[in-house]
Symmetry: D3
Subunit: 295 residues, 6 copies
């Protein structure tokens, strides 16, 4: 445990970072392991409250995770597949929305309030925050033909109206956002949370987008734990994908970063959500942690 | 269908009522049959949007209804009873909250937005809107003794912090509120929606509280359809309860009205939600409909 | 008489129009028959009050009419003519101003206040609203020569300073404006009211200019009551004038519409002021009435 | 003519008075000789503009004067008398209002604008500024009986709503007010201008009420030009009236002062309007001129 | 040196204290050893800048110290004594003011700006912040008589006008205040800095007054280093003075605390300015350091 | 002494000038003889207070003068010279700053407050108002070579941050500014006051820059007292310098005027500070006095 003098030293060292991000909006995509472990949950949301108090404007966009699968199981909902992709039919979407908005979102709000901030939970339906259109996916049939598959109520954001989020920030609250959007006929769409966070960061003119993942960052060589790429330029991404250095689930995350950068966000970060207080470490230390993707 | 001239006449007749309620807050408890029938849903929410546009500030507090029961059935949740009362255990509360906040609330928000207003859905957890303590009920054991029963996560509002609702109103949105509250340990409580509407109306300094029910109003003689009591003074209520004129499910509704009146609300109304546009009729005609309870 | 349910239906049908013109400024040139008949007066000004309450910003510019002639007769003022045009000499102008500002304007203000709005009467002299220069007219002498005639204190607006009107609107009042302007030496000028309304609509960035007339609108064939032109493009006007379809007193009115359109007003309307509530019918029904002139 | 150095000295001497009245509202009853002579008009209104520029808030309430009589003559309107009092019948009131509002008021507005201020003319009808009820007068019949006479549209202010005047002041304009009020049925009433000024001063919380008259002030002995009473306490007034020192037309003026003082105005002044710039002299010199009536 | 994880832990522990003092005004009397040692200077002012960034409003009132004595020596100014007290004659006061305002104050301002805050230096003369009257001291003559001694330009604050300080705070600056006041004739007075800080804290409605001293705090037994009194109630002070526990230079400091408490300041603190970052330690740790004097 | 009527006439004549400069910022370089003579001091600062009250925004930038030299003498500080220029070493700069900021500035502030304004004294260090870099001077060695001389802490303004001055003006205070700036390492620099006034006038978007000097203005022929140049175009300056009409200490003053004009100041004035109220005479009379340099 630190002595009082060491504590004072740490606070003083934090000053330049507090100055740097004063009044800046920082969008945090909250998902993965950090949503499951209780002490990680507490750490992530404490970081957000601390950021709010020292003058930053954190915005949390959360994902879904295993609670959705569990609820689908409980209601005996079987999943249908098209070309290997799970189809979000109407009934599934209803469950998805209930769990995201009625359970996960309010759980986060409630925990933030208990830690000492004041949060307001929103879904993309509130005040027309996220409007979406249906998303089709290319699939390959068993015979090898490429087809456009209808995978149900999975949407693509067509318009972001961030006014309600700005209002909530300006009134001193922390906005917590569930990645559900509304379609042209009022139907609900499930939206990828990384993607929602990226689009929202751009619409808000955020300074930073932080994506919490379950890996350390982007590794130059996955077999070498010391090969973390700390800083990556947007222009280097295509060749890294081509060479397979960035692959699998990391590709869409990096693409969200590129989108956000193109939309005016200053820096984007892929952090290890399994490390307690990784957000604070990124913001309040010089080297940062994880991989920063910048223009 | 009305001719253009008849239409103009109706609009002109509406003017005194528009003036009367200009800038006033009107809390609507939305429940019962009006939440089930699609054309009634459309009518109630259109009324709210119209009220917003002509300068009033409608606030909707909604109930739950059959969707909760249905979901409990789907997840195979059996209800436990204590002294004849259903117990809301933790698992049940989770379902209740998911359906109220993740399904019903967002369905209302989405429909209002489609009609042309802009709604923001909130639960009592957002920004600490409703804080609650556990509610115990007196029950009579089979042996005839009176006991205090633990009926689980059913709460009583201990504090209302209406700031977020006022903000949302002031920014031009229609607030839509799910009757869920947060307890001292962050646990969720189910709150009676009539009661939540009454408490919120008082906290907001509302001008009117409207409770939509499935009856015409309070009848002097239930066997006589012409015996509707149009206006009721708060002071007359106790004797009407004693004489059994007000009984059953109507008692708590009337008590919410009395609470709201005591908290400063100007008038309270028990309307027949089965009649399309009953809210408009109450607000825009001289006689009003249903029963008005006033000081 | 409509039933309550028909009334509700009419209000609900009005909603899209209320939304459409919410917060928009609508300048109404009030003149002709609608200024003489008591029930028409009541109807026009009730329309204005209703518009104000549902969130629009009506501005009334009124004309003079027979009260001026009557007063000139009463003071025994003979009119002098130059080349067939009546000359507004100093004495006449004094009477014109007194009747317009001291009688007609305040009569309108007083009636609006009685209906339930709050009006503020202004002349073009107040806060430098309308500045004017003398207007000369070309006349043909009996010998057939063209001459420039001095017709006295008839002016042409040289500058509009709409600040006081904007202030009055913003404070919740309905501005009522008499078409009198001030010249470079402080002298009073009579201004054509259609023209004043058009210039003011442009200066205020109004959404709509409505000119109340004593005809149904512009007719393609005046002998055919069914030949009303509902919508007219600005570009079609010159050929209609050339072909004599638009002629006489309608020409200056249409020119005011063109001026207002050129100044940024979205649509302009020539309505039949003899029809009660013609303004409401124009604003709250799909087809509108009269002739709309648009870009 | 003063040298530049004498000019500077005068400006410097004015400083304490500018400080003293900075941001204060000063109501000026403008009437009598000062409304007839052109150079006096220019002097009074220049004083008002100067006051506005050095941070005071002048408000002008004007009277009627000979222009009303002249116009009544021109329209051949004979006056009817009851018990020696002229009756303001409907026709007369119409002329009175036209002249006050349409001629005198706008003449003042126009002159102020030319001097370099910006004035807004208002009548008591605008925005419900002055509401009145009919005033009856006690008269003595030739037979010596006392009777209540109906002298027509002469009113007594029943309510002052000074909001529009405050708005106009706050926006940087000089309000110029005609003493016309509106009755319960929308009828016009002529109001005594001294009285209107006094009531308005109280309603605005004015610092000073200045009444311009055609005498030097209140004289202890009218035959002795050196007997001007400079300062008079409200409590001394009754005995001065009893002793006949204050009599005739001065009585109602002094009563307006007492009313204004009772309504919270700090000081009231009866000045000689025949002296050019008497208002400036009162405000910018130590001794003041005329008679000050204070609590 | 702390690891990143220890750093995060410290920041998280600071959260409750940041919340507690958010938006609160904290007046710091800066004097003694902490004004002499360069690294202590840096520490104190860094603490102030950090407080500003995390949402508190620090206000610095500084003392004089050895720089005044040094300058008096340099100009060859001999001190005159009356009854053992040094007399601040006019010439001395001039030097005092120059050093306090022109050297020490601007040195603090400059250093804060370099650390990354923005400071504005004020003396009690600016905007009439501190008004003073001459202070006389009771002295005992060699013969043992008590006399009132004139010790020159040493003043007692008679009025605090904290408007300029509030403005400077609200605009985001850190106010730095020299303890000089202005007398009735414009003469300068030297004011005890502890006293100025206490009076200012009360006038600003500050939450905390912190007095930096050169001792650890108030000791129950000065020979026992472990006898620090951490918390002292205002009511206990008189008996501690009587018993000699509080004596010498500590008495006026404690009296300033009592004055500030009486004026509404919530807590007051006597801290050891020789300890680096003692202010941070007081604010960001549970036990605090030094002696807290509270009501 | 003027009669009351002459006084009124002077005030009325001042009106056009009050209107002209209403809300305008006027920077006054205060120096020379006007800082030494007590009645001149009173006159200059009274002028500033009067300007403030009639709606102008005076800003005073003062010089140093003999008080600095006197204090240097008192502390026995000998001056070192390089190439004929006095070197401002660290010790000298300390004295300069103390006298400017701690004595002269506060003396001016105090006097303004006594006259009835409210002043706030600032140095260029406050809120980063003036940032400077070291200034080197070209000198000629005895051997005739040109060399760059280090003349110590004499600076050149590199950046003006006028925010604090604007705040102080907007809050109703008169800013009084000492020409001291802060260097990159926090060191103090002495700045020429004419130059500081010119740069500040440009940064504030001032309407006027007034430089008080000890001469009548620029003379076409110094031997002829009647040859004052009243108006000078910026373009005429170079040839006047070449011809020796403008020379010596007047050159830098005129260059400040040119700089200010280039930075957007409307007019600049070189006035005779030995004439009482020369500022008022310039502002409130048609001809002005001294020399006006304009674009």
């Amino acid at each position: 445990m630190s002595t009082p003098w060491e504590k004072a030293a740490v606070l003083v060292e934090a000053l330049p970072y507090i100055k740097k991000f004063y009044g800046k909006t920082i969008v945090i995509k909250y998902g993965g392991h950090a949503m499951l472990d209780d002490s990680l949950k507490e750490a992530v949301l404490t970081d957000a409250v601390l950021m709010k108090y020292v003058g930053m404007h954190p915005v949390i966009v959360h994902g879904g995770g295993p609670e959705i699968t569990e609820m689908l199981k409980r209601v005996g909902k079987d999943s249908r597949f098209v070309g290997g992709l799970r189809v979000t039919d109407g009934e599934t979407m209803e469950i998805v929305e209930m769990v995201l908005v009625g359970k996960i979102n309010k759980g986060i709000v409630s925990r933030i309030n208990r830690i000492g901030g004041l949060a307001v939970g929103l879904s993309g339906k509130d005040a027309g925050l996220f409007q979406a259109v249906k998303k089709y996916r290319k699939v390959r049939t068993p015979e090898g033909r490429e087809e456009t598959a209808d995978i149900g109520f999975v949407g693509e954001i067509s318009r972001v109206n961030p006014q309600i989020v700005s209002t909530v920030i300006a009134e001193g609250y922390i906005p917590v956002i569930a990645p559900v959007a509304v379609g042209p006929e009022g139907e609900s769409y499930n939206i990828n949370a990384d993607y929602a966070a990226g689009r929202l960061a751009a619409a808000l003119g955020a300074d930073k987008l932080i994506i919490l993942t379950d890996v350390e960052g982007i590794m130059a060589d996955r077999s070498d734990p010391g090969s973390l790429i700390s800083v990556l330029r947007a222009s280097e991404v295509p060749s890294l994908i081509e060479r397979g250095v960035i692959d699998g689930g990391m590709i869409p995350k990096v693409e969200c970063c590129l989108d956000a950068l193109a939309g005016g966000v200053r820096t984007t970060h892929i952090l290890d959500g399994r490390v307690p207080h990784s957000i604070l470490l990124e913001i309040f230390t010089d080297k940062g942690i994880g991989t920063m993707v910048e223009k």
